[in-house]
């Protein structure tokens, strides 16, 4: 006699079996001709550069945290706005306190300069005199030639 969990077990076994059978069949039938280009990481046809585990700038961490906090703040604001008229002034001051606490954090982040983002300073190549370009206009003889 099967218990409820017994049925779950059969479900799991059948599910694993279907996966295993298809993998075994694929292993039996497929051509196996690996070579480096075929095994390379799929990068939309580009040759992959470096590792997949790349590092992000640490500043994204602070931005993400700040975003998360104010995201949650907005999430709390919506149900508050729905029941606002029923709760009256009490709810108003409660939310004011809540916003004030978060505002302190915002001011802290602002003062610390985490919201400022360094602008990239590209090194623009400049034309230097006398390289590849003649300085005087073409003379009459050169134009004819």
């Amino acid at each position: 006699m099967l218990t409820e969990y017994g049925r779950v077990l059969i479900f799991i076994l059948v599910g694993a079996g279907i996966g295993a059978i298809s993998m075994v069949f694929a292993w039996l039938l497929r051509p196996h001709r690996p070579y480096p280009s075929k095994n390379a990481i799929y990068e939309c046809g580009e040759s992959p550069l470096g590792d997949t585990r790349i590092r992000f700038n640490i500043r994204f961490y602070v931005i993400a945290l700040v975003f998360l906090i104010f995201d949650v703040e907005v999430v709390f604001l919506f149900p508050w706005a729905v029941v606002y008229s029923a709760l009256g002034w009490f709810a108003f001051f409660e939310m004011l306190v809540f916003l004030a606490i978060l505002l302190v954090g915002y001011a802290y982040v602002w003062k610390r300069g985490d919201l400022e983002w360094d602008k990239p300073a590209p090194n623009i190549p400049r034309y230097e005199r006398g390289i590849g370009v003649r300085e005087t206009p073409l003379t009459e003889e050169e134009l004819v030639a």
Binding site: P31, R33, Y35, S37, G45, E46
Partner: protein, 164 residues
Amino acid sequence: MGLLNQRFENGNVLLTSVDDVLAWGRLSSLWAMQFGLACCAIEMMATGASHYDLDRFGTFFRSSPRQADVMIVAGTVTLKMASRIKTLYDQMAEPRYVLSMGSCANCGGPYWEHGYHVLKGVDRVIPVDVYVPGCPPRPEALMEGLLKLKEKIRKERLILKQTA
């Protein structure tokens, strides 16, 4: 009356070869590599969309070469793209097929003479199974090309030992 209704004799035994079954399986679900290069890709998209409905032939587009069986080279193959196409073809799982769609992919098309940047036919970098002519080919032509590819796959023998 259905296709199989009361058609079986000799005790309902069907005889076929393993290769036939495998070929039938492969040709019935030709998943295409999802990429387009030029205006032919617009026709390819139209073929995949609801009006022409490529899905009824078992072909729909996969965004990874690992899951794709057929590469539809739809459009102008520039020299810059040619090496990428070779890489993408390499990364497809075997057995893999290539359908060259349109004049540009077939032979360079209008860029044949003066296109300094265009590969004169995608068959210079990867083996092509079916060429679909046209500039661009109509969706019916692309479907015909896929059906021709199916005919080719139907005759293919993967498991049978090759006698040289």
